[in-house]
Symmetry: C2
Subunit: 477 residues, 2 copies
């Protein structure tokens, strides 16, 4: 690996457009920006820059374009696939959105808000709430992640079943293109058929086609009621039948339908303070069900409970605990979230972020579970997550007492075997985390060549110099 | 205009891939395919071809690509902007989807169906209903239009408020690219972040980037309840306040919020059989409100009525008639639909398909109405449509007794004046009908140059020969 060459030209160009304090070159200050959230990837960069306006972003990008300098956009830097971490080349400039934090406009009558890319997700949820509206995007990193990153990665999260992915929250974008020009596509319209829907190109492209600097987002009415329950289900087929019934009974107000296996609960009870076994005895499979909506007459809770009761009578549900208070609902969610933390206490985990058609989840899980047991005898699968979307985090905790490093060394091999099965169900090897640098090669193994070629065509036509987050998402060859 | 040159090469190539009866060159048979639905555009073509499989579509496109022959995809041929009508050049081959009518798969557990492009919209609604599911796309032409065309034009319609546009119904596409290769992107997943979302490029591109041959569509649970009402509102500001209240009260189950001005009702009563004045006396503005959802306990209807009652007490609503039966709801819808037909009996109409931010509708309508009265004294605006989406059909009935041809001759001038106002509200000059050939020049007047350039970049990189529906959507210059 060559030493990063000093490139005085780009630094002097950057100094022309930004105040010195917004150009970071100090190694200690840079260090945390060069390693990813999961600490799997470390890179190098010449500088971290913090433009404060769209015009400054544009000027930075122009300077980089003129000098052929790679740009790595960075939001909250909470991605799980190394998408916002530079490679080792060392010429990169990291462009942080942290100073682009203006909420430019909230229009409750139009149910929209226009915000800058660096706004923290939780700040936007709160801003919407202040106008008696809901901004439904919600995920574990919401206190840290920034909306530009959420959009660039098409984040999923906890409310996808009802409100869709990040993509579905967007009406318009402002984007700095790879040549430094600004595309003002900040539409606030529900309907607009005046040409190709360019914003879709940038959503989910992980900064490889341009830098999102602002977005117009949809807002929703605040739901009048929330109904939450934990159920034990007979098996996964029963869980799917229950899903359909709950969707109909709640008028599609179902926001979450989360799968938790017994092992997930057991480890949580063991390792995470505040975890409470939700039902009187242990069952193999649980679902956490939540619906938000209703008419303020208690009908939503009644409808959900009646659907659960019917499913109990039909043998789909073995036991159920509807939350009788907000506190109890919170306890159920605590348990769901504890599943992730609990696994850490048991050593290493090999992780997957997969999706298959909802109807294929039972067959997929049976097959994948058998396969990983074959590969790693004693491995402890903890498949949990967004069953309602077909998106499971198929996490594998190491065998008891095994050597953690030796187990983790098999990450790629195990991933490959699981992904082969995912592919046989026409599933996705990255349902909500994106490709980043982690899955570029693995993705190329499954995407039809024609699709990879279309992606390259788009990348080349929009970013002919390949300076926008190079090496992420697609290998331009 | 040059005579269409005979191109024996393409015809002989077509005969290699299709049976003779699926290649139409007879002038009488061709004639109806050469003129658009509104009878504004007439074109010329060498042949109409009817491939029956994706492989046949691909072979036809390859033949056209090899010979540089323009292809005009045609579905139900019900578009309103001349998008499926060839130009006068005469070299075009019209590619009809009418034999691509297979429903390949319905998966109720996954809430998806995979269907071929030539399926008629109504057929798909019925197929979903047979599996106790709802396919929510619904529009006036649903008995004739085909799903490929609905997707290629990103059709809107009557349920957008709740379920989104055609784009929002799609999980995957199969597309024949301009070089005849087939991209199989028939994903059935709710979450898939494995690269650029290519399907978005083709949805809404009106056949200029490729030919959609099949799609995987989302299905919804069948709503358990429908609640419908007609209200007279104090004014347009009151209508907007009512919209927000209804959305919250019905837990976002509001499917329709349609504006009807008194003149629309008056003309319907006069000209269209079966029209009934919905309220005891006449008011300036009406909205037709419909919600679909609920929990089967009557709560949806109660919630809507209670919101209307509260709005009445607050002076927003002047009178309201909740539908007491399916028959009465149908009568309300008959009235809404009669508005279009009724205008025909009063002579010519100059039409617009515009959208503005919902919050700007009152100001826009005031300004646009004043402007058209200035331009054409005595003109009778009948602004109606999807107020909930900010999408109004701002139709102008000719002055009483005026010369129809002289009035219609002012179409472009009036359009331009109205569109200038639309643009000042950052609105859309084509909310749901698309660009086709009708609005290419007008669209270029408003789109930022950078956006037109991005569209051209995409068009050129995917269709370098410009054979896919040339002259539609974007002038490649």
């Amino acid at each position: 690996m060559a030493q990063p060459s000093l490139q005085p030209e780009i630094l002097s160009r950057l100094r022309e457009v930004l105040e010195p304090r917004h150009i970071v070159t100090d190694a200690d200050e840079l260090a945390p920006r060069l390693i990813d959230w999961r600490r799997k990837y470390t890179g190098a960069a010449q500088a971290l820059v913090k433009p404060g306006t769209t015009a400054e972003v544009a000027a930075v990008v122009r300077a980089c374009a003129d000098t052929g300098t790679p740009i790595v956009p960075q939001g909250g830097h909470t991605g799980l696939v190394g998408g916002s971490t530079p490679d080792l080349d060392g010429r990169a400039v990291i462009l942080s959105s942290e100073r682009l934090t203006r909420i430019r406009d909230v229009d409750p009558l139009n149910n929209t808000m226009t915000v800058e890319a660096g706004c923290i997700l939780q700040t936007l949820q709160a801003a919407a709430a202040r106008h008696d509206r809901l901004f439904p995007l919600s995920l574990a990193a919401e206190g840290t992640c920034r909306i530009g990153g959420n959009l660039a990665t098409n984040a999923g999260g906890l409310n996808v079943l009802r409100y869709g992915n990040a993509r579905d929250q967007v009406l318009g974008l402002e984007v700095v293109l790879p040549d430094g020009r600004v595309w003002d596509g900040l539409r606030t319209l529900r309907k607009d058929n005046t040409g190709y829907d360019l914003k879709q190109l940038f959503v989910g492209s992980e900064g490889t086609l341009g830098i999102i600097t602002a977005a117009t987002l949809k807002l929703q009415p605040q739901p009048l009621e929330t109904a939450t329950a934990v159920c034990a289900v007979r098996d996964l087929d029963a869980a799917l039948a229950l899903l359909g019934r709950c969707q109909q009974a709640t008028a599609q107000s179902l926001t979450s339908f989360e799968l938790i296996p017994r092992l997930g609960i057991q480890l949580s009870l063991q390792h995470v303070a505040g975890s409470v076994d939700p039902l009187d005895r242990a069952y193999d499979w649980y679902v956490l069900v939540e619906a938000k909506g209703g008419h303020g007459d208690g009908g939503l809770k009644a409808a959900l409970e009646s659907a659960l009761m019917q499913a109990y009578e039909d043998g789909l549900v073995l036991d159920a605990a509807p939350a009788e208070s907000a506190g109890q609902a919170q306890a159920f969610w605590h348990l769901r979230e504890a599943v992730v933390e609990a696994q850490r206490h048991e050593g290493g985990s090999i992780k997957h972020d997969i999706a298959v058609p909802v109807s294929s989840v039972p067959a997929f899980l049976a097959e994948a579970t058998a396969r990983v047991h074959e590969l790693v005898p004693g491995v402890r699968p903890v498949p949990f997550g967004h069953l309602g979307d077909g998106n499971l985090h198929f996490n594998l905790t190491q065998p008891k007492g095994a050597d953690t490093q030796a187990f983790l060394a098999r990450w790629d091999e195990v991933n490959a075997a699981v992904h082969d099965i995912v592919a046989s169900y026409r599933g996705s090897i990255s349902a909500e985390h994106g490709i980043g640098q982690m899955k570029v090669a693995e993705n190329a193994r499954f995407k039809p060549p024609i699709e990879l070629e279309l992606m390259r065509t788009l990348k080349r036509s929009l970013d002919p110099q390949n300076i926008m987050n190079p090496g992420k998402v697609i290998d331009v060859g």
